[in-house]
Amino acid sequence: MKGIPTVLITVSPEVSAQMRPPRALYPNGFKIGNSLGKPGMRELQQKVLRDALLLLKENTRPGTIVTQDYPEYGEYHEPPRVRK
């Protein structure tokens, strides 16, 4: 096995950062259970998935998480924090 490129969509960026994912997208303020957005918001879901897939092509620094705003989500939820 030579390895498989991956990209993570996370709604718990601090928790995910502990595992240092090779590529990751955090849709800013999305709640747990809404990784791609809300039910039926297909255009938003497409946008989030497209942005995540584009990270495969971008020269991101492995282990970092890219935060992206999606105002159409319409809510902001504080992500879970990791006790330091």
Partner: protein, 141 residues
């Protein structure tokens, strides 16, 4: 915050997205209705995973997970397992194909070593052998 001391397992993506076949691996507890549900009674978590076929109808998918509110995923599983969204992107020509196999597991465990050394390589192997995926989208809940 404790950062993993393991190196970042970075695999370069070579090629173009519009030539790529994509798989989904979700920790959101997604599986086929006909498959055994994850064992939420085990306080240590369930280390097993379920293979979800390419042609799955989202009506066949259910969520078994007791560590997040999956009521939205019950209504539209694409919020954690975006298989229809992937199909949209394929129809738009943004990606080339949908992998033959996708994977759901329950992303909660007190058995980290077994998850890391057992389940994770098994899932990677499942994707590597026969899914034809060029890249994987990972989601949590």
């Amino acid at each position: 915050m404790t950062i993993s001391r393991k190196c970042v397992p970075f695999t370069p993506f070579e090629g173009e997205l519009d030539r790529a076949t994509i798989a989904i691996v979700t920790a959101g507890g997604v599986h086929l209705r006909e498959q055994d549900p994850f064992n939420i009674a085990d306080e240590l978590g369930d280390l097993s995973y379920r293979v979800i076929p390419e042609e799955v109808d989202t009506k066949q998918l259910v969520v078994t997970h007791h560590h997040y509110d999956h009521s939205d995923a019950d209504e539209d599983v694409n919020v954690v397992f975006p298989i229809d969204v992937l199909r949209d992107l394929q129809a738009l020509g943004f990606i080339h194909g949908i992998a033959r196999k996708h994977v759901g597991y329950m992303g909660y465990t007190m058995q980290l070593k077994a998850m890391y050394e057992g389940t994770a390589p098994q899932i990677a192997n499942e994707i590597d052998k026969g899914s034809r995926a060029d890249a994987v989208v990972l989601t949590g809940g």
